[in-house]
Symmetry: C2
Subunit: 335 residues, 2 copies
DNA sequence: TCGAGTTAGGTAAACGTTTGCAGCCCCGGG
DNA sequence: CCCGGGGCTGCAAACGTTTACCTAACTCGA
């Protein structure tokens, strides 16, 4: 069932049907009603691919995340989808699971479907791949790590703010041996958190010597706690974790060691994923709002897409982080 | 950059380019090489919408889930996507968040994009909406609740098996006061679990009187445990939960009441989401493999789509459930 | 050498829209 | 009464592919 079928039955031209459907204001209300009546009767739905073909805009945004099964992402995907629906966009989701092959196929698929823009919420995307997208002038949004170029928007995250609050909060609770469980080296975002920690510690005159490597997973958190416990002399009284999953792993492992949280050990996470509200005890953490992140990314894409003339020197957005107090921190036990 | 551009440069017709790209075997290897050379040089990517328009197949599958933020779903989405990539399909994901408006827009979008099939992993989709899809003969896959009709495949879940195992396991541990925290009434899948429980209890001659209402959320589990604790005389020594999130809520609430799990109270969940491995203690639960579920759904869609002739009396698939023993169950404490 | 049969590659129509352009009608002013 | 102009509507081209059909060339046996 075509637009032509509709035209025939409503006794108008296809042009008029098209205009009526797209609510072009110049079309006579009476004609418009006639068209819509037929449309409803027949249950006609425009064919998006034909539309995209001629208009040159697919109304699809690509969204590349590193792992949809990582609890950090579903909230983002949901928000992104909400916005897409509101604005009549579709979203093409790919979860690369850190696999270079998948990243490549992901980019290829986005190009083949002629997406109007791509938000990249994963890291370790090779430069050569991005070149394909940039070559086609596809608007891009990066988080944290993007190059500074036309048609590329960047969302910068102010790690400093939240992490400083976290460190100061611990210091106010008289903690001085504060450890940091870092994320993997290859993640720029993890490195940024780490240096924000070092910076904040330095600010209040504390040494940041207690840093161990984690990998942003629950298991990594468990391992890291064991490593920290092994340090006989200078065991920490508080731990700041590079993300919430790590913190959840620490809490879980602490339970097995009969270390009471927060009385024996204070824990602070990072991200504020939903699950952080449901640990025992509920996790004090640095919030990096996933909803806000998704909003910014979507907005950036819209800005770039809907008015391509202006702002061709990729714009910048900033997401601030801040401490959320729950119940996983307490006064340091006397040494 | 077109297929025509490629044709011009490779000095062949567009038909040949098309055939070469699609690896039609009759095309001369030498010509094919010439075409591919140009394709690679120019970084040409076929336009999927033009292709879809003429071929009548979009190579897009719709996937409707109820809430991507529910930890049950990401694993499914990931598996579905993996399969899609392998088979050169795209997936159009929508998360309805139980909102009828969203369900409607979801179906509309699927039709407008001319998806080749839809897997429906949500419940409470109105019949009238589905009618739109069925009217267009879009292949459909349902889980649990689908109508029996042409072009509609159903995945049945054998709740009995796993739940019987769970109940028998508890009985073997000398539990007799076994409670069940049910899911919401409006979910057929929740009702099926509930009656499977009743059935299994009856089989071993136990009354299933201890049933309280949950809502498949963590908070619901917390509330339900309190309700159960309130029952002075006949407090359960074991609880079977309608899903894992409920069980996690129970564990969390038990901790606050200083009820030791499993020594004071045994808990069994349902679904075996990944998180179930990381509770304290790790959760014994009935596995309903999300990977397998996604596989079946995808396979059903492929079967229905790729060979439309046969199997026009919608096929049936069955997913079995089975008990996974971890550490949240123990011998009943002497009464 | 010739003709039938096979095969590779080209021509052009078709897919379902949007949109630039042209034409028609109607209104109002000179 | 005539003419200019503005507002709607329709005509037809274009978007980038696939594919049915046709043609030309080649193979091979008689």
């Amino acid at each position: 069932m075509d637009i032509r079928e509709i035209a025939r039955r409503a006794k108008v031209s296809t042009a008029t049907v098209s205009r009526a459907i797209n609510r072009v204001p110049t079309v006579d209300p009476q004609l418009s009603r006639r068209v819509w009546k037929v449309v409803d009767e027949l249950g006609y739905y425009p064919n998006t691919q034909a539309r995209a073909l001629v208009s040159g805009r697919s109304r699809i945004f690509g969204l590349i995340v590193s792992e949809i099964t990582n609890p950090f992402f579903p909230e983002i995907v949901q928000t992104f989808e909400n916005l897409a629906v509101e604005n009549n966009y579709e979203i093409l989701l790919t979860s690369t699971v850190h696999d270079p092959k998948r990243m490549e196929s992901s980019v290829r698929r986005m190009i083949e479907r002629r997406v109007d823009g791509v938000a990249i919420l994963t890291f370790g995307m090779e430069e050569s791949l991005l070149e394909h997208l940039r070559f086609r002038k596809v608007p891009l949004v990066f988080v944290d790590v993007g190059p500074d170029a036309p048609h590329i928007a960047n969302i910068r995250i102010d790690y400093q703010n939240g992490i400083r609050q976290a460190v100061q909060h611990l210091a106010a609770l008289r903690h001085s041996r504060i450890a940091f469980i870092a994320g993997p080296h290859h993640l720029k975002s993890a490195m940024a958190r780490r240096s924000a920690f070092q910076h904040a510690m330095a600010e209040i005159g504390l040494p940041s010597t207690l840093i161990v490597e984690g990998d942003h997973t629950l298991e990594g958190g468990m391992r890291a706690l064991n490593e920290l416990i092994g340090m006989r002399r200078k065991q920490p009284t508080a731990i700041l974790c590079s993300n919430d999953m790590t913190a959840i792993g620490v809490i879980r492992e602490a339970y097995d060691h009969e270390i009471k949280i927060p009385s024996d050990l204070s824990i602070i996470g990072f991200d504020d994923i939903r699950l952080a509200q449901f640990t025992t005890p509920p996790l004090t953490t640095v919030q990096m709002s996933q909803v806000e992140l998704a909003r910014l990314a979507f907005q950036a894409l819209m800005d770039e897409t809907e008015r391509p003339s202006l702002a061709n020197r990729g714009s910048e957005y900033t997401l601030v982080t801040s401490l959320i107090l729950r119940r996983s921190t307490a006064l340091a036990s006397s040494p």
